[in-house]
Amino acid sequence: MAVDVRQEGRIVTIFDGVSLRLEAGEIVDLVGPSGSGKTTLLRVLARLHSRKAGTLLLRGVSDNDIDPISWRLTVLLVPQKPVTVPGTVRDNLLLPWTLKARAGKAKPSDDELAQLLAFVKLDDVGLARDSNQLSVGQVARVALCRSFLTRPDVLLLDEVDAALDAESADAVAAVVARLARDGTACVRVRHRPPDGLATRRLRLAAGVLSEEAL
């Protein structure tokens, strides 16, 4: 696949001929110098960025045959900057079910939400807490829990643990491990030292994606 981006107004091809394959349940760490296009690659995979050439296949079905919204329900990007919308923690966790794409689908119960919060060590933050009272680390964990609850087939994490303290980063890792056990393929852009979860490591540098020893 090939992708163009704009840098200082000029169009630059950041990578060309990049290809990768993800298996269910694996956790792939994506590393490489900043500016090499890791974020762009994740966005392309979630169809949140244009590409010049290349095809995406999901279980053998071409992206031409899947509408972008259905694609994103299955291939879920968790962006680098976590955000909450105005409302309570519960509102934020149930945000995906307020969208037309999931209208009428069963949403998680308060019990499930509370259990998940406890799992990421947010038990002291109630479901009724106003989202703008949360710290950066708490927002990141709420945003990840929100993605976790939608049970995607592919989860793309863009440095979600970058700004976190060790405890929050461990909680994030635990959530990822749990999803992978249930069959979700996870790709993590990370700058932290390896945490032993990854099954593979890929390096993106100077437009080339290569497999690296763990």
Binding site: R6, R72, L95, R102, S147
Partner: protein, 288 residues
């Protein structure tokens, strides 16, 4: 010289000259305070005279020779001018908004004008230029300003919500769902000035139209009722026009696949190509 008729002074050319002398005060201020605006003051004063006297002349002719197609043609010209002026006022927006602005003003201008003149003022014939053209002018002028505010707000607000929009689209939101909070805040922003002027009317300010009617000798109570209709009509028109304009344009900031086109993905030349009047303005600036 002016003549008195029913307590109303009609203005002759002598009175106009006296009024023009008022601008000497402005010129004196510019000279004493070194504002460097002498050229602008003279040019603006001359333009004011030429434009309004020409308008009066044209309207007098139109009122005397009105036909339904001539009135509609004038409305169309007013709508196109309003769309053009609005497009130069919207900065930081994607290019190619003009057709949507024209369409919003066209639909609002025609339906609201004909609704007010036909159903409330019951003008005979329906194209009676003496009423239809000033009413359309008020509707279009206010809708144009409100639309420029609303569109500016829409695109600025979406830019400030770039992270939230990405998070929402990543979760499967449609472009409309991701843009919705910005759409709401832009329509709110466009409505605030109108509601404020409704609240101030009669307490803080005597609205311009009512002032004009009273000066021209009309009964103040009748003028008040007229002004109420006008203010209600303006708030309805600005709201309808903003809703149309915002709904017709928000999608321009989203790619066909439904993701938001962030600042870094845009053509840096965007917006510079826009607007005949802007180009015209630039040229005259460089000559000065």
């Amino acid at each position: 010289m002016g003549t008195m008729a029913g307590g109303v002074t009609s203005i002759g050319s002598g009175e106009l000259v006296i009024a023009a002398l008022l601008m000497l005060a402005v010129g004196f201020a510019s000279y004493r305070m070194k504002l460097g605006m002498a050229k602008d003051i003279v040019a603006s004063t001359i333009r004011l005279f030429l434009q309004l006297l020409a308008l009066g002349f044209v309207l007098r002719w139109v009122f005397g020779n009105q036909t339904w197609w001539l009135v509609l043609l004038i409305l169309l010209f007013m709508i196109a001018s309003a769309a053009q002026i609005a497009s130069t006022r919207v900065t930081k927006a994607p290019s190619g908004l003009e057709p949507a602005m024209f369409l919003s003003l066209f639909i609002t201008g025609l339906t609201m004008t004909l609704a007010v003149t036909g159903l409330i003022l019951r003008v005979q014939p329906w194209y009676g230029a003496r009423v239809v053209i000033p009413i359309a002018g008020m509707i279009l002028g206010n809708s144009m300003s409100a639309m420029a505010v609303a569109l500016d707000r829409l695109f600025a607000d979406m830019d400030s919500r770039v992270d939230e929009i990405l998070a929402l689209t990543a979760l499967g939101a449609t472009a409309l769902e991701a843009a919705q909070p910005s759409i709401r805040s832009s329509i709110r922003a466009g409505l605030i000035p109108t509601l404020a002027s409704m609240a101030a009317a009669g307490v803080v300010s005597i609205p311009g139209m009512m002032t004009g009617q009273i000066l021209a000798g009309a009964d103040p109570f009748g003028a008040a009722k007229y002004q109420i209709v006008v203010l209600l009509m303006i708030s309805a028109s600005t709201t309808v026009c903003n809703m149309l304009a915002v709904r017709l344009t928000y999608r321009k900031r989203f790619a066909p696949e439904g993701f938001f086109i962030e600042a870094g993905m845009r053509d840096p030349e965007e917006g510079r190509r826009r607007g005949f009047w802007r180009r015209f303005g630039k040229r005259s600036n460089s000559e000065a």
